[in-house]
Symmetry: C2
Amino acid sequence: MAGGSGTRFWPASRRLRPKQLLSLVSESTLLSATVDRILPLVPAERIWVVTTEATAGATRNLLPTLGADHILGEPEGRDTAACVGWAADVLLASDPEAVTVVLPADHVITDPEGFRSALAAGAAWVAAEGGLLTFGVRPSRPETGFGYLRIGSRSGATDGHDVHVLDRFVEKPDADTARGYVANGRFLWNSGMFAWRAADLRAEIERQLPILAAGLDRIAAAHGRADRQRVLADVYPTLQRISVDFGVMEGASRCWTMPVEFGWSDVGSWPAVADVLPAGDGGTVTRGRVVALDTSGCILIGNGPAVAAVEVRDLVVVATHDAVLVVPVEHAQRVKEVVSILKDRGWDDLL
Amino acid sequence: MAGGSGTRFWPASRRLRPKQLLSLVSESTLLSATVDRILPLVPAERIWVVTTEATAGATRNLLPTLGADHILGEPEGRDTAACVGWAADVLLASDPEAVTVVLPADHVITDPEGFRSALAAGAAWVAAEGGLLTFGVRPSRPETGFGYLRIGSRSGATDGHDVHVLDRFVEKPDADTARGYVANGRFLWNSGMFAWRAADLRAEIERQLPILAAGLDRIAAAHGRADRQRVLADVYPTLQRISVDFGVMEGASRCWTMPVEFGWSDVGSWPAVADVLPAGDGGTVTRGRVVALDTSGCILIGNGPAVAAVEVRDLVVVATHDAVLVVPVEHAQRVKEVVSILKDRGWDDLL
């Protein structure tokens, strides 16, 4: 899943260069790193990417080892239920038995071997047992920015990985509630990573979201036909807009979760990027050509221009060839307001 | 006088684009604005510019109405005594009676009519009386960044402008001393603007700085000869390095000062630039494409890239296509250390 509108990482991210196409934490883009991370487990010919039509060309260029027809371009983002349903239909057209792992393209994982081990185990579980499985990350802090999963009774284990019944999805908590979740031990972060047989996912959509299923059926019926792109362009933007978590997983008849710990981060903001990068003097994190003179706690990113910062604390500075952002770490989420102001002013070249 | 090494306005200023070639406060460069300011008083054919050889080409391009031979390129900066001595010799070659006003090319003046009136009066005074005259700016605050002039007895007036004997030059004071100077009323800011007959200046150099005079004589002797550029290149870098203030003015046999008030600023730092620009919300000053969201007291300059600043106070942000500076207003002078670090790292493209 390589969607996303690219506002949280402005000015590095843009409409046509969303987060997964950025090299935020290494020389690789997050998308390339995601593909590289699963290649030891899944060969390129069995990897598909769903992205927006606008970025499909850039995505194909970035991933030449994947067939061009393995990059699926959504005419318009319609949330994750439509995305995974469409992908399931594409896979089922060539393999009715397809077992699928669904991964966001813009996360960071510091223990790729542990990650692959969990993925293989999750896939083996759903291949044998059916149902829908979500990978839940053991929380390392009382994070209020994520949804949580409450785990139910243990159902078994595969290759040393426990599998539990998924009790329920929990919305983003406040700080006190989050502390309670961490202390309780039965709550996991909802990572947005899943495993299922494509047919099982498709059947749950049919059962719970019949209107979405009918739209997907119209698209699938055009598979291999000359007018398939026109049908996609006509129908996809009308698909029901709902997340797979609340639209499909929560009401699924068999739903599992596998607790995992493999150094996962959703790197959802500049401060989250800094958390996974090594810090220098004063805890300042730098990327690119940077002079940091008596700074502390800063995130200084010279993504094109060099950045020189003197005597500043806890500041995010991101410079690209055409725009610069300066914001305190604690207010980094206000970058969305900046993007909205740019839109209002008609500075479209900066979006 | 259009010399200067261009470190205080990094990253806008560079070795080959020093302060006088920047458009810091209007659409014009400071140098063009300086020339435009005196044109109603002095026709282009009687204006000369002394700059460094490295920036002579850019200076000629900027000032096409001046003859190319009116842009004098110093092979190397040797301080102001050599600069004004050389210029005097150039003028004397065509006009032994030349009356000269010497102006820095990188200052801002908000009352250009008052400025021209004072300049005309100063030139008239030295044309009639001889001696060396310096324009002294009535201090509006206890500035510790300037040298001061102590005025002596009143010698007379011309066109409504008083002229005093110059008592002495005073080095940059500490804050208490500066407050005393302002209260005293007999101290003026040393603006670095002068008037004299070229022959008088040259005679004072001869009398007080005979070694400098001998070097200037060697250069002047080559005037009109085929080898004049070679002589200049050989001799100029060996000239005695001393300021006209302490090397010539202080010991001159007749030395005047004219107190002036015409909205003068030497705009010697980013905060000084902000002082002469209109401020917006929260006292933040902006240039270029800037989004300032809940900022106060900032100086935000998008000199190429756009700048977006959120929730920051009293911060200087200057962005050019290849470098960005972020520094608190109160530490703006530390930009010199940044330039020195760039030099140490060999990032010569940023100098």
